[in-house]
């Protein structure tokens, strides 16, 4: 009984409900605790004035109201502040922990290896390649993924990962993190970190008060001394109460995020088809003296985001954020005897052993992939594969080992000039522009003329030069190349991005006959980058019912139907098949109403649909584009781009299907 990608996302969303519930519980408990302390203090102060008087009832409504307002506003302020800080995306978490961004052109072997592993995984999952940060100060083995959605995700690793883990083990850890990226866990984690901060803050505040009280003069015992003492006691109380907050914080995290670690582990195995990788990493964590401990002061706030426990052996570990290490290993490797290996830095073992990566795919699949990639373009028959909506859904968000092998083979086969351009900010701009040039020569000329007026001559020359190479690429290579450029495009300054964006828009608007595929690439690319550069916010999933989305759905499905079929009749048939499953009347738009701007708006609306709706939408898109249940490479890639925009990334072609040579020429 495997839950699919959409169900996972729904589960993640539901957990948000638990988060809110426990958080409110924690706030209530904290308010009561603070009130109790304050009331006792007040009663003691009053009793002091009247020697021998009885202590009155502790219940004092105005005081209670005051305390409640004070505590709640403090907690709310703190949480809102942190949530706002994290609203810019995963980068905020990486910087909070002192992360250093790994340069995409780094020549350090260990860093290069990690970048390659992350790039392969992202391409295999159908998501933009996330930037990678390293926590230089952390010598343990640990990693995290942070962000709201795949488009603004970042990956972080500790220094220990680079020093101790082999390529397979790195891949296992990264596969685990990618499962969090794909399942919607990341967004929940970010909310959790922001929310819990409010409760943790009380302890910090109490600590500051202790310090201030310690510095106040104690000469006037009657007047000044009383205040200092009161401040000191209140500070102490806040610290103790604050640890209630820490306790509840851990409880919340355990309730919300612990169980899914097993799921992420098994998803990693599915992805890499090699349990030894992730198991090996876990074993090394066990064998290292500091295990996976993170020393940074902010570790507590984000402890649930890490691959393994950021704290070890503390009393409050009853609410550990992760399952016990031995249990995790045993699930992956039943033969594990409980003894951890001695961990040695890779440097001392010789790099040859460290760099061997396993071929994940089964032999037959690997052979088919190689054969497909090696066939020259003009000799490839227009291979098509059978694609049913049900199949597309099962593939969304759940990449397999074959895709991983495909991704690494694809990047290895990429012409060197293109691969280099994709990893460097200056040329990456030219590469994207080259990919947006139409195959139709007349349209291309219009595009180039429009661009020549705008772009600097050197950039223009680079675009033309790279276009000569990209023209030789198969359809399947374009989207992965775009995915690979994300990390460097995010490194542009805002001014440079604005200029680049203008070039992209010029290319797309140069001629109304721009191909749908090129247009969709532009939508996907700019939408993700716009979020990073602060021009738009990430989409909020607010639609739970299909009714408000009928209009946008009609636009998208009509456009896809026309894109996938030659004749009007075929398009109509596909469209009605697609909408039949929706159970309501959706009109087919006339061809001239399917404009690109209308499509853009419609997709923006659909991207805000809840995961369970996404499943229906994606199925309808597949039915609309597939002619008689078959898609060619180009249509498959178009579908992947649409799915990416909707937030349900679909991995590249399952190539076992392509082996069936049904030529549709």
């Amino acid at each position: 009984m495997s839950t699919d990608f959409f169900e996972q996302q729904d589960v993640a969303r539901r957990r948000t409900g638990w988060l809110v519930f426990f958080f409110l519980l924690a706030v209530a408990a904290t308010v009561l605790a603070v009130y109790l302390v304050v009331a006792i203090l007040v009663a003691a102060a009053q009793a002091e004035g009247q020697a021998g008087a009885e202590i009155e009832s502790l219940w004092n409504p105005p005081l209670f109201l005051g305390v409640t307002l004070g505590v709640v506003s403090i907690i709310l302020l703190g949480s809102l502040y942190r949530i706002a800080q994290f609203s810019t995306g995963g980068e905020a978490v990486a910087l909070l922990l002192g992360g250093r961004r790994i340069d995409p052109q780094s020549r350090d072997l260990a860093e290069r290896r990690l970048l390659n592993v992350v790039e392969e995984m992202a391409i295999a999952s159908g998501v933009p390649v996330p930037p990678v940060y390293v926590l230089d100060a952390e010598t343990s083995i640990n990693a995290f993924a942070a962000g709201h959605q795949p488009g603004d995700a970042v990956i972080g690793v500790s220094r220990g990962c680079l020093e101790y883990l082999t390529r397979d083990e790195l891949q296992g850890v990264m596969a685990h993190e990618f499962s969090h990226i794909l399942n919607g866990d990341m967004r929940l984690d970010l909310r959790l970190a922001g929310t819990v901060f409010g409760i943790l803050m009380l302890a910090v505040l109490g600590y500051y008060m202790l310090r201030i009280a310690g510095r106040m003069p104690q000469s006037n015992r009657k007047q000044g001394g009383g205040v200092a003492l009161g401040l000191f006691l209140l500070g102490l109380a806040l610290v103790l109460i604050g640890y209630i907050g820490v306790f509840f914080g851990k409880l919340i995290k355990a309730a919300v995020s612990r169980q899914r670690e097993y799921l992420a582990d098994s998803a990693a195995v599915q992805f890499t088809r090699f349990p030894g990788g992730i198991a090996g990493a876990l074993k090394k964590i066990g064998g290292l003296p500091e295990r996976s401990r993170i020393r940074d002061a902010h570790a507590e706030e984000v402890s649930h985001m890490f691959f393994s426990d950021a704290f070890e052996g503390m009393l409050l570990n009853f609410f550990a954020t992760h399952p016990p290490l031995v249990k995790r290993i045993r699930r992956l490797d039943p033969t594990f005897d409980g003894r951890f290996p001695v961990v040695v830095p890779l440097r001392e073992m010789g790099l040859a052993e460290a760099d061997t990566g396993r071929v994940a795919a089964a032999d037959q699949e690997a052979a088919q992939i190689r054969e497909f990639l090696a066939t020259p373009l003009d000799q490839r028959r227009r291979r098509a594969r059978r694609l049913s909506p049900a199949q597309a859904i099962s593939e969304a968000g759940t990449p397999k080992a074959a895709q991983l092998f495909y991704a690494s083979s694809l990047m290895a086969a990429m012409p060197k000039a293109l691969a280099e351009a994709a990893h460097e900010p200056y040329l990456a701009r030219a590469l994207i522009c080259a990919l947006l040039l139409s195959r139709d020569l007349a349209v291309r000329q219009t595009q180039l003329d429009a661009l020549a007026k705008q772009a600097e001559p050197r950039l223009y020359q680079d675009i033309v030069r790279l276009a000569a190479l990209t023209d030789q690429l198969g359809e399947e290579a374009r989207v992965p190349l775009v995915d690979a450029t994300y990390p460097v495009l995010r490194m542009l300054s805002p001014r440079q991005y604005a200029a680049f964006r203008q070039h992209v828009e010029t290319l797309v608007e140069a001629d109304d006959r721009i191909d749908l595929f090129e247009y969709m690439i532009r939508v996907m690319l700019l939408r993700n980058l716009d979020v990073h550069f602060g021009r738009t916010r990430p989409p909020i999933r607010r639609y739970s019912a299909i009714t408000p989305l009928v209009g946008p759905l009609g636009t998208v499905l009509s456009t896809l139907a026309y894109a996938g079929h030659e004749t009007q009749e075929d398009a109509e048939r596909a469209f009605s098949q697609a909408t039949a499953a929706l159970g309501r009347g959706v009109p087919l738009l006339p061809k001239q109403d399917c404009t690109l701007t209308a499509l853009d708006k419609a997709l923006a609306e659909l991207a805000q649909a809840a995961p369970k709706l996404q499943r229906i939408i994606l199925a309808a898109c597949v039915a609309s584009i597939a002619a008689d249940g078959k898609v060619a490479v180009r249509e498959n890639e178009l579908l992947r781009v649409v799915a990416g925009i909707l937030g349900s990334p679909v991995p590249p072609i399952p190539l076992s299907e392509l082996g069936a040579t049904t030529a549709t020429n």
């Binding site: 005081l63 004070g70 703190g78 340069d103 209140l234």
Partner: protein, 198 residues
């Protein structure tokens, strides 16, 4: 009773103040990291360019047997540049380091310019395949350097602007945020009169 309310008010005010200061601090840290990261892009490209030069000089030496001075000037300038780069990488944005790097760049640009001017007299060298490839790579790397410089300077300006507005400037001086310096290439001083060859 009054004391309790008084303390509560103090606490809340204190908290708001602390959060405000921490917010500004975080903003400055982020901006600073951004320009430091941007500098590492320059670092990568400058290193690449500097690595090309020994090969360039070797190839040219075979043809230009009487231009020792010009060639040596290039090698010298390249070494100065590499040293300045290393210094700047330790302290990106620091005034001395950036100024030293800027003048090193100018010096190297000048030396290379004179070298390429002399090339005109050596048609065999100009046609040499290896030399053509190297020149192409050099040009392309220079483009990337210019681009990286632009990104760095943009990031520095953003940081400086944020640092100088009120009330950020108060927090900045509290925590010792220094002004960052742009990467500017100064005009080289005239070191020698150009040689005329008949």
């Amino acid at each position: 009773m009054e004391i309790a309310i008084g303390i509560a008010v103090i606490v809340v005010v204190l908290l708001v103040l602390v959060l405000f200061i921490v917010g500004i601090y975080n903003t400055l840290i982020t901006s600073r990291n951004r320009y430091k990261n941007a500098f590492s892009q320059i670092d990568v490209q400058l290193k690449r360019r500097n690595d090309l030069i020994p090969n360039l000089v070797e190839t040219a030496k075979g043809y230009m047997k009487h231009e020792r001075q010009t060639l040596e000037a290039v090698v010298q300038a390249r070494n100065v540049n590499a040293a300045a780069l290393q210094q700047a990488a330790q302290a990106p944005g620091e005034r001395q380091a950036m100024a030293a790097l800027g003048s090193a760049e100018a010096q190297l640009a000048g030396a290379l310019g004179r070298l390429f001017a002399v090339f005109e007299a050596y048609p065999d060298l100009k046609a040499n395949q290896n030399m053509l490839a190297l020149q192409e790579e050099l040009t392309s790397t220079e483009n990337k350097i210019a681009f990286a410089r632009q990104a760095y300077n943009d990031a520095v300006m953003q940081y400086n602007n944020q640092r100088e507005t009120f009330p950020n400037v108060v927090v900045a001086s509290m925590f010792g945020f220094q002004e960052a310096n742009l990467f500017e290439i100064e005009e080289p001083k005239e070191r020698e009169a150009p040689q005329v060859k008949f």
